[in-house]
């Protein structure tokens, strides 16, 4: 299974590099104009977009046919894609964390909270996107993805601009409001993620490749 993740990382190496560069650029913008969010959104997209591009690459060369004749089960093929998504989320999280270290006025705990929120959001996106893509293919799936992905971002963006919500309020809220809330959130996301994996495996197992 690690072989599969490794293969996807090799295939996506160039794309990944581009995303990292753009991410760093947005990070610079964030730091210089004192906002939060640009880079955050960018890397959120990265960690969901790349697994989907990886699936698109697989489709193009009909990799699924050949990999399923290899000593790999369909469950492993799918789990490897989720693993890839998690690896990318982790890379993004680390990047956000490092960049925001240089952000004036942001404490480490704010930073950690931001990173945690980003990671959890990414995971929720992945949990909805991956089964959709696996079911409908990357072409149709991409359209659906745009809707799921951008609707909340636009919404948050608009709300933040109107100063109805403030992202730091969110982190303050997570930090101080309740000791239990973060744990509950993590648990809920984990459950959603696991259910998503199970659903994807089921879809993939009944598929004619």
């Amino acid at each position: 299974m690690t072989g599969l993740v490794y293969k996807d990382l090799m295939v996506m190496k160039k794309t990944l590099l581009i995303y990292v560069i753009i991410g760093a650029f947005y990070g610079y913008l964030d730091i210089s104009n004192g906002r939060t969010g640009m880079m955050f959104a960018m890397l959120l997209i990265t960690s969901t977009m790349i697994p989907i591009s990886a699936i698109a690459y697989d489709e193009r060369c009909k990799w699924d046919k050949i990999v399923n004749t290899a000593p790999v089960s369909r469950k492993e093929v799918i789990t490897a894609k989720y693993l890839l998504a998690l690896v990318l989320t982790a890379i993004s999280a680390v990047m956000v964390f490092i960049v925001y270290l240089f952000k004036p006025g942001m404490t480490i705990s704010e930073n950690l909270a931001t990173v945690a929120v980003m990671s959890l959001m990414a995971m929720v996106y992945q949990a909805f996107l991956l089964p959709t893509i696996i079911k409908f293919g990357s072409e149709k799936g991409r359209m659906i993805m745009m809707i799921i992905l951008f609707a909340p971002i636009v919404l948050i963006g608009v709300l933040a601009k109107q100063e109805i919500i403030n992202l730091s309020v969110l982190s303050d809220f997570l930090e101080s409001n309740s000791h239990l809330l973060p744990y509950i959130t993590v648990a809920v996301v984990a459950v959603i993620y696991l259910i998503s994996i199970m659903v994807s495996v089921k879809i993939y197992e009944s598929k004619d490749l």
Binding site: L4, D58, W63, N68, T69, P71
Partner: protein, 282 residues
């Protein structure tokens, strides 16, 4: 001893096409050519054999076991080459080697590298820059270096030039030097491959028309060449199909059912296939 391949009563229904009760047996140690027109059901049969599609009846056994119930070691004994190279186009063969050895515990990096080098595949060129023949060679090299005992090739030689096709022929003959090794190869153009095939299975509209030793086929059938008037006297039970022009008739016939002095030429597998495709025009 188990057969290399045993397909029993395989059925698969699609809206516009059905596989009907496909039965194929390939003993270990031999090469079977699986022929038929495009869309006759070759790829569907192979996908079913490899457990890539859900079937609507029947079983497909490889060495006595269904592919989807095989353990990892058993799966590694099946090498597959499909009609295109299924490796990501942005990688070169060095990179393919790197991840394949993590997928197959039996992967032999050295033999893979040797083959790629011997077959003239440049180390640093990515797959998308390969010619069709090079892509096919890469796929075959990969299929042969994880300890496969059965090679399944689906349309692997179509669209290749005669030189490469002939090279692949040599590679396959080399592979079956081991008596435990078998090859199942599908194609819609068979002329050069028919030379090395031990068995031929012909599929048409989702049904197996015949599956037999190649030699027995070429012995059984012949091409009768006679005048239009002579043809009237020929026993029509012996005739599978015929071509009529203003000067003569060519007909694929069962030699054993023809009595009398006629010119009967040898029929190649391709001849037999072509005549069978137009069967019913009698």
């Amino acid at each position: 001893m188990n057969n290399a391949i045993e397909i029993k009563n395989l059925c698969k229904n699609y809206p516009a096409f059905n596989l009907k009760n496909v039965n194929i047996t390939l003993p270990k140690g031999y090469i079977m050519g699986f022929i038929g027109a495009n869309g006759a059901g070759k790829s569907t049969t192979i996908s079913s054999l490899l457990g890539l599609v859900n079937t609507d009846g029947g079983v497909c056994l490889i060495d006595g076991k269904e592919m989807r119930y095989m353990n990892k070691a058993e799966k590694a004994q099946v090498g597959v080459v499909l009609d295109e190279c299924n490796f990501p186009e942005v990688l070169n063969w060095k990179q393919v080697d790197k991840f394949m050895k993590k997928i197959y515990s039996t992967w032999d990096s050295e033999s893979f590298s040797d083959r790629c080098k011997n077959w003239g595949l440049p180390e640093k060129t990515i797959v998308s820059k390969y010619s069709k023949g090079m892509k096919m060679k890469l796929a075959i090299a990969a299929a042969m270096c994880h300890g496969a005992k059965l090679l399944v090739l689906d349309e692997a030689t179509s669209g290749l030039d005669p030189v490469v096709r002939s090279e692949i022929l040599d590679i396959l003959m080399e592979f079956v030097q081991n008596e435990e090794h078998s090859v199942f190869i599908s194609s819609h153009i068979i002329s050069d491959l028919e030379k090395i095939c031990d068995y031929i299975t012909f599929i048409k509209n989702g049904e197996i028309i015949f599956t037999a030793e190649k030699d027995s086929l070429t012995e059984k059938y012949g091409i009768l060449r006679c005048s239009n008037s002579d043809f009237e006297a020929v026993d029509k039970n012996a005739v599978i199909a015929y071509n009529r022009n203003s000067f003569a008739v060519d007909a694929l016939v069962d030699r054993s059912k023809i009595s009398g002095d006629y010119i009967i030429d040898k029929a190649s597998v391709e001849d037999i296939m072509l005549y069978y495709m137009k069967e019913g025009k009698i």
